[in-house]
Subunit: 406 residues, 2 copies
């Protein structure tokens, strides 16, 4: 059994880095607050006897030797960055839970056959730089390191510049640390486990993701003197797109969601009809055929709205992540660990994307979910109980022991 | 007849202050560019022999003596500030046209019975500080000077601070310069004159205006893991409000318009359902009863949308300007001047608000419109012909001579 109080203490100690007034965390990737938590994490890993290295995209790897160093390490971990209005658990539980597993094995004097590697992946959230799960995507070869280094945030700062500004452009090439498999602990970020009173989610799959950049070009004109029928209003156009997205996602539901999270009017003024809007779209489903249908329906709806309103709408698919099907053997290992420990569990699909979904494309991967309050995540009110966090970390540890061998 | 080439030269010379790449002007009130055009205007007025004073809200007054100084001056002028994506004519034609009237009278050695006062009103546009036509509203007593001085822009800068930063907090109290009446020349900013092939719009009325500040409080949550039916999406709520506003304005049309010009998502992120949005609304009609109906229908629609979507929407009426009915004698003077000069004309309602609408509440006022290309205004592509600008300025001059007496 892991040390529940120690884990809880680490979670709340690191929550000070970027703490918000509403009790959440604002720790955008590669920000000053991210540097603070990375420094804390490196020291904690070193204190736990791990050999820590940083790769060219800033991901931190802490290696615990195994008896058989010819074996590839079992990877565990998650991420320490948050959303602009993020919580204390998303990513953090999985990273500090992994650290807690190491600390517990150290205390118990347990050596494993295969090594274990704790990882903090850079920019899982994707809110400062797109796409999400950026560093693990480069790790599995979906993008080159140079491509990722040149991605820009809204201010025009590149990933490379941001890494340099906090001193986290590591000396190791991306992929330097080979892993044999990857297991990630995370809060569910949805309402199912809580509603069903289950402690452990055995994650067998994950939704695919479509991310788009959009731009509407209507025509700025006077709010008072432009008759309604002559308008080419970019905001009215966006509004129709938002509602079309909502109804398309509902039509393909319950196994589909669609969101417009960002929309910025250029040169806004109270008495000017909006002429230009930049926006983003996020569509998901665990079913590849539904993803294709979402894309098709959305493009069709947007084309119709744009033609009718005589405005131009450009849509650019900037990321497509297919649905994930985790490794059956690892899924069974997680399920078995939960059962052995006496926790209630159920199979579950992840609504969110995770680094484990990327890693699963080149190695066996799996995930452990624990409930979060009211299913709320990406919100400062995100919450989870100490007992559930400890339960998930115990399942993580027993899964690792089963895979790594004692 | 005024000097058409000189007027055209002044318009294009001042268009350099805030010139945009697309051929428009970005000269927000009390900005650096506004200071540049104010300095130019003060010097031009002084060179034309006017005595120039600035009031506590930065409005510039240039007085030309009359034979009978016991008579109140005839006020003419408009504004030199622009929208963020503004044009070269909105306000500018009326201000530089007024200057051109003085220059022409000087050249012809014409003395008038009553004095004439050229005015450049501060913040007519209302895009940096609300409300629009701010300085003329204070002049007529709708707001106190202190109230206006404390109004803030989006960055939190007050009108007082902005005035000081460009050295235009004048020594004279607001209202120091009494006026006997006010005549304002302006581009139509709508499509009617051009469509009907008329040169002069004899403005007999102006739309009333309702300005609101709005705030939507939904709930931020994860774009991937929050099922569609559980969302409290602030952007989907705004979208319904935008489309409701559009259909309510159309329902009460053709004599009504409604616009949402500003909307800002707090802490936007691609994979977060928007939780909070601040927005503004602008509704207009020339009919007071329709204004009331717009307000009522809008509040009803918003209440229904908010309740159904389980979000909070707060609406705050920050400005209500009733419809304007200009002075019959002055309207007739404008009509007569157009006729005498041989220009085609028609009576017209102003879709936009103007300083003359404020002045009309305490003195006789009227306006002269000239066509603008495709009715486009509050747009960098705003355009008008040299001939129409000169025609309007001639009508302004002959109206002034008729009122002031030669
Ligand atoms: N787990 C999580 O919130 N990841 C962020 C990436 C996404 O799914 O949008
Ligand atoms: N004339 C003009 O564009 N005024 C701005 C105020 C308004 O009508 O919105």
């Amino acid at each position: 059994q892991i040390d529940s109080a120690r884990l809880w203490g680490s979670i709340h100690e690191t929550a000070q880095f970027g703490a918000t007034a509403k009790g959440g965390v604002r720790r955008l990737t590669l920000s000053h607050e991210d540097k603070q938590v990375r420094d804390w994490f490196r020291k904690a890993c070193e204190d736990a006897g791990l050999e820590v290295h940083v790769d060219a995209l800033g991901s931190q790897f802490g290696l615990r030797k195994g008896r058989d160093m010819s074996k590839l390490p079992v990877g565990i971990g998650s991420h320490l960055d948050t959303q602009p209005t993020g919580g204390k658990y998303d990513g953090i539980l999985g990273t500090l839970g992994a650290l807690e597993v190491i600390r517990t094995l150290n205390d118990a004097g347990i050596e494993t056959e295969a090594p274990i590697c704790v990882v903090n992946w850079t920019n899982e959230e994707g809110s400062r730089f797109a796409p999400a799960m950026m560093a693990s995507a480069a790790y599995v070869g979906d993008f080159t390191t140079d491509d990722i280094l040149s991605r820009k945030d809204a201010e025009g700062t590149t990933v490379g510049q941001a890494l340099d500004s906090i001193g986290y452009r590591g000396e190791k090439p991306v992929g330097f640390q080979k892993l044999g498999c990857f297991v990630e602990l995370h809060i569910e970020q949805g309402p199912i486990l809580e509603a069903e009173g289950k402690t452990i989610g055995v994650v067998d799959s994950g939704q695919g993701v479509l991310w788009y950049d959009g731009k509407i070009s209507g025509f700025e004109s006077h709010a008072g003197s432009t008759p309604m029928p002559l308008r080419r209003d970019a905001l009215a156009t966006l509004s129709e797109i938002v509602l079309a997205m909502e109804s398309i996602a509902k039509k393909h539901g319950p196994n589909a969601v669609g969101t417009i999270g960002e929309a910025v009017i250029a040169n806004p003024s109270r008495n000017v009809i909006p002429g230009e809007i930049a926006f983003t779209m996020d569509c998901r489903s665990a079913d590849g055929a539904i993803m294709d249908a979402l894309d098709r329906d959305l493009r069709e709806a947007i084309a119709e709205i744009a033609a009718r309103r005589k405005v131009e709408v450009k849509i650019d698919l900037v990321w497509r992540k297919p649905p994930t099907h985790f490794d059956p053997k690892l899924i069974a290992a997680v399920e078995n660990a939960a059962k052995t420990l006496g926790y209630t569990s159920r199979r579950i699909t992840s609504g969110a994307g995770h680094d484990a979904c990327n890693l699963n494309t080149i190695m066996p991967a799996a995930m452990v979910f624990v409930p979060c309050k009211d299913g709320i995540s990406h919100n400062e009110l995100e919450d989870a109980t100490q007992g559930d966090c400890a339960a998930g970390t115990n399942v993580l540890m027993h899964t690792v022991l089963a895979i790594a061998g004692v």
